[in-house]
């Protein structure tokens, strides 16, 4: 290649690099582990929160000079994530932290990455390829525990409505199946409606509106939802029910739902109905968004030669009316002392996921989840 053509190419390259980014140069920082995050679509509160916690973990003083983290988005497209992981391996990744779009479609590419010595860590959802490290909750346990709570709350009798997640995914399948097995054991529990909630409060509202178009709230005695209890409570209040008449709801760990669980009359700064304490009968569980941060931490440990188990099953974060407790500031220490709901003045989005505490991750607290700032 002649000098002039090289110069031309170099000029092109610098122009492009300067035009698009400023950080490309820092990628080769010496002595740092090159780690990539391949997340799924970012059009979703949970995903954004988890990504913030990964970034906060990387910025924490214990890791900041060990880790060079780059974040990429694959969208909802598994094919794209395959390509992305390949590109990451090519770019010299030492470890890749993944929110896997599909538990199976990535197997080949993950195996290929492992073969090249790259550590692959999947958070929240699983990758079935044996060489990958998985960090997630037991989805079947989540379905079973919440269903059992609801059955107990209803004394084993009543008509219930289910709102499920995204059909065709393993997570939804495992949770729903486990819950239905529990309900099947109680012949007096009847499932009278089943809607696809796509793990979204907004979809839960449209689906519940459709169900209640032909069915009065009074004919339903309980709700089992993967996301949407906050919305369901709001809808019942709109329909003229009082806080005491709210149906028991087994569902997600959104902060709005947690605030509603606090006994009515609790002093809460800048609360406004329906994002306010009403003593709603609830069990609240979640796939915790800190799993991404923990995955990064474990990835660094693995790179440093420590022994990390292939499968980390996170304890299922469960909060009921008996255990719900308001946080004042949301530091990790405060959460360690048992608080699990955040002031609306701190978290303005009620759909925000409140299960961010893990004893394993003192590096990240509320600010990590909100804005990607680590604890001191």
């Amino acid at each position: 290649m002649t000098l002039s053509s090289r110069l031309k190419k170099l000029a092109l390259c610098t122009a492009l690099a300067a035009g698009l980014v400023a950080t490309a140069g820092s990628a080769q920082a010496a002595g740092k582990h090159k780690i990539f995050l391949s997340m799924s679509f970012i059009g979703n509160d949970w995903q954004a929160e988890a990504a913030n916690m990964v970034k906060a973990m990387a910025a924490h003083k214990s890791l900041a000079d060990k880790v060079d983290l780059q974040v990429q988005v694959a969208g909802p497209n598994a094919q794209r994530q395959i390509q992305q992981i390949n590109a990451m391996v090519q770019a010299g990744a030492e470890a890749i932290v993944i929110f896997p779009i599909s538990p199976t479609a990535l197997n080949q590419v993950v195996k290929n990455a492992c073969d090249k010595g790259v550590k692959v860590f999947a958070y929240d959802a699983e990758i079935t390829e044996p060489c990958a490290y998985n960090i997630s909750i037991d989805q079947e346990e989540a379905g079973r525990v919440t269903a059992e709570w609801l059955v107990k709350k209803l004394d084993g009798k009543g008509d219930i409505v289910l709102v499920t997640g995204v059909p065709g995914t393993s997570v939804d399948n495992l949770r729903t199946k486990a819950a239905k097995e529990v309900f099947a054991k109680h012949p007096d529990i009847k499932i009278v409606g089943e809607a696809v909630g796509m793990w979204s409060q907004a979809v839960a509202r449209t689906e519940l509106s459709k169900i209640t178009a032909t069915r009065n709230w009074d004919t339903i005695s309980g709700l089992w939802m993967q996301a949407g209890c906050y919305t369901a409570n709001a809808m019942q209040l709109e329909a003229g029910k009082t806080a005491e008449q709210l149906l028991p709801c087994a569902g997600e760990g959104s902060n709005g739902g947690r605030i509603q669980m606090l006994p009515a009359g609790t002093e809460v700064e800048s609360a406004a109905a329906p994002y306010a304490p009403i003593g709603a009968p609830r069990i609240s569980y979640a796939s915790p968004p800190y799993s991404g941060g923990l995955a990064l931490k474990l990835a660094v440990q693995a790179l440093e030669g420590k022994d990390v188990p292939k499968k980390t099953v996170l304890p299922l974060p469960v909060v009921t009316n008996d255990t719900v407790k308001l946080c004042k500031e949301g530091t990790w220490q405060e959460m360690k002392d048992g608080c699990n709901a955040f002031l609306p003045s701190l978290v303005s989005n009620p759909g925000w996921f409140a299960s961010i505490f893990s004893p394993e991750t003192p590096e990240i607290g509320l600010n990590a989840a909100l804005v990607g700032q680590p604890e001191n």
Binding site: V21, V71, G92, P167, G168, I191, S209, K210, R215
Partner: protein
């Protein structure tokens, strides 16, 4: 002299001119790959190329199939679903003990499944003459349902022998198998193109009537096109099965939109008659390599959709730069106008007073002909609008019989109208765009961005709503203005422009909200969507006014007449003095305004705004318009028909949500009902 110099280069030029799209796509691809090569750590090796080859192969194969459909003037929304189905069937039926499954046999199985679904599409589209977009939308739902019946969660097993074959090398060290596979498919197309069928495909896509007049069997051509395309999707499904080694019932669905982008980047004209699969295959690789570019440049996640949208627009613009391009024409027209203004010969500068010759009034008055009856006058509207209403009534009756509490329950009607309101508003915007022969794909993130901005500004205060609402709607108009200008002045096809705008808006929404939108709707807005005046929610009363407004706008105003005029023939509209460009810009502004309004109402309905809140409204907004009797190519349709489509779809979904049928069955039923509704809409044979 100049003649002599130009003569030898003219065949080359002609070749370049006819294959400009492919040439530009190839050039873009080469530039991108050079960028990757330069910026990434090491030089590109055969190994990297082989990775790239397999990464883009599924999209490329599917895009080839889609291109053939588009060349014939069709449209296929079921492509992604077919890929998932093939993947699920293969992973479900292969024997996990058999590591050496027969590659040829399973490839044929996959292609056979694809061709069968293609034959179903082809039957409804070619033989029953239904509109491709709504047939394939229905089959998409049906196939997705069937896929979930085959496999309800990811899993299964695909023999490694498929992977070894399809991801291996055709010539070790020189030619990766995926490239060879795409090459074989393209060679097959090159052969087909020169047969009678190949000519017929281009002929039907260019002008179906002309093709029929010269003796081309349009029915057979259209039918075969969908079968061939189905084969390509089947092959893509086999490839992704080989690549992933297992099954996932959702794997192919997200490929759909990028498939259209690949076709467009590859220089094929949407609407038919021009382009070819080679460009689309290259287009698919262009889109795939963007992933690598974003990675090596470390572009922030929030900017990735913006970067993609920019590449899409630039690639398409580059493909159309020439003296005859719309941009060049618009510039010339602008120059002429300026010249005319200076010379004082512009029409608006001439004398405006009445200059008709005075004609003496004749004495004889003609007897006014008897006014034709209402039925005669509105026969066409009724014929196309009624089927949706008939089906809607059936759905209501079934709901009453199955679930009870429908017909005599005011709460049911109230819920139905509240839930319909979003689609009914979108139907006006999308419907008007479709009446002009366009399509607005920027609906999802116009809804999303407007909702997020409104919630962010309002933060629960009714006072803030007073200024936030007009501001947000103004922004929506601005979005529409951008769409309109891109389509009219840059000459981009509506699908490309609005798809790109959608990406830009998504980036904007992410940047504004920093990933988690905050804020919530004010009490008044919430009351508007969920409160009660007597037994009705306020929005129900608003919808009554909205429907009157929509019917008047399209049926009784000059604007409405211009819209129909453009849809019936853009040339004829121009010649009859319609300001086509200006009208089109207004049409896209109307559509964006409707989307913005839906964003506001959804925020009120849910109490807050969320990212992706508009995603579920794109395909339904198109479906209701077509189910309501509008012609996707423009010029025919009535708002009341579209409203019938909205009621039918919402009523059907409400019924299905009330049952405890599994999701797979619901998806299949939904597809069947939509298909059944449009069978009644089919065009009569001439």
């Amino acid at each position: 002299m100049s003649m002599a110099a130009a003569a030898p280069s003219s065949p080359v030029r002609r070749l370049l001119a006819t294959h400009r799209g492919v040439a530009v796509a190839a050039a873009v691809f080469l530039i991108l790959i050079a960028v990757v090569d330069l910026i990434s750590a090491g030089p590109l090796t055969y190994f990297d190329i082989s990775f790239l080859a397999s990464g883009g192969a599924t999209s490329a194969l599917a895009a080839i199939g889609q291109t053939i459909v588009i060349l014939s003037g069709g449209f296929d929304l079921s492509a992604g679903a077919v890929i998932s189905l093939v993947n699920a069937v293969l992973a479900r039926s292969m024997d996990p003990m058999n590591m050496e499954a027969n590659v040829l046999l399973w490839t044929l199985v996959g292609m056979g499944i694809g061709m069968t679904t293609g034959a179903v599409n082809g039957f409804f589209i070619a033989v029953l003459r239904l509109q491709p977009i709504v047939v394939t939308l229905s089959t998409m739902f049906i196939i997705q349902g069937v896929t979930l019946l085959v496999m309800d969660k990811p899993g299964g097993f695909v023999s490694p022998s498929l992977g070894t074959f399809y991801l291996g090398d055709a010539i070790p060290g020189w030619l990766p198998m995926p490239i060879a596979l795409i090459g074989v498919v393209l060679l097959a197309w090159a052969w087909l193109k020169n047969t009678r069928l190949g000519t017929a495909i281009y002929a039907v896509g260019s002008d179906a009537d002309a093709a029929a007049a010269v003796g081309v069997s349009t029915v057979l051509t259209r039918f075969l096109v969908y079968v061939i395309a189905g084969g390509c999707y089947g092959l893509a499904g086999v490839f992704i099965s080989a690549q992933t080694g297992s099954g996932d019932p959702l794997v192919g669905n997200p490929l759909l939109l990028s498939m259209f982008a690949a076709v467009v980047v590859g220089g094929t004209r949407l609407g038919g008659g021009r382009g070819g699969p080679l460009g689309s295959a290259i287009g698919a690789y262009v889109l795939m390599i963007v992933v690598n570019i974003l990675l090596v440049l470390n572009v922030s996640a929030y900017y990735s959709t913006i970067a993609e949208a920019t590449i899409l627009i630039l690639a398409v613009l580059a493909g159309s730069i020439s003296r005859t391009s719309t941009l060049a024409q618009q510039l010339r027209v602008l120059g002429t106008r300026l010249g005319a203004r200076r010379a004082g010969t512009l029409v608006s500068q001439l004398r405006q007073d009445d200059q008709r010759l005075a004609i003496a009034k004749t004495r004889k008055t003609v007897e006014a002909a008897a006014k034709p009856s209402f039925l005669t006058r509105n026969a066409e509207i009724l014929r196309y609008a009624l089927p949706a209403y008939v089906c809607f009534i059936i759905v209501i009756l079934v709901t009453q019989a199955w679930l009870g509490g429908a017909i005599l329950n005011p709460g049911y009607w109230n819920s139905l109208i509240v839930l319909s309101s979003f689609l009914a508003i979108l139907a006006l915007g999308q419907g008007t765009v479709i009446l002009t022969g366009g399509l607005d794909l920027s609906v999802p993130w116009t809804i999303g961005l407007c909702g997020i901005l409104l919630a962010g500004m309002v933060k629960g205060s009714d006072v803030a709503l007073i200024y936030a609402l007009p501001l947000v709607l103004l922004l929506a108009c601005f979005i529409g203005l951008i769409n309109g200008l891109g389509i009219v002045f840059l000459g981009l096809s509506p699908i490309v422009m609005t798809l790109a705008t959608n990406g830009l808006l998504q980036g904007a929404a992410l940047l504004y909200s920093n990933g988690t939108p905050d804020g919530f709707s004010s009490p008044m807005l919430r009351w508007f969507m969920t409160g009660k005046i007597w037994i009705f929610t306020p929005v129900v009363l608003f919808m009554v006014l909205f429907v009157i407004f929509a019917v008047t706008l399209l049926g009784r105003t000059a604007f409405g007449r211009r819209v129909y005029g453009i849809g019936n023939g853009i040339r004829a509209a121009e010649l009859s003095g319609i300001a086509v460009g200006r009208t089109l810009v207004f049409v896209y502004m109307l559509s964006a305004l409707c989307s913005g309004l839906v964003g506001v109402l959804l925020t009120g309905f849910s109490g807050q705004a969320s990212l992706g809140m508009g995603d579920d409204y794109l395909l339904p907004s198109i479906a209701v318009v077509v189910v309501g009797g509008a012609l996707i190519t423009g010029g025919r349709g009535h708002y009341l028909g579209m409203l019938g489509g909205v009621l039918l779809l919402t009523g059907l979904q409400t019924f299905l949500a009330g049952t405890t049928l599994p999701y797979a069955t619901r998806a299949i039923l939904f597809g069947l009902v939509v298909l059944g509704a449009v069978v009644a809409l089919r065009d009569r044979r001439n």
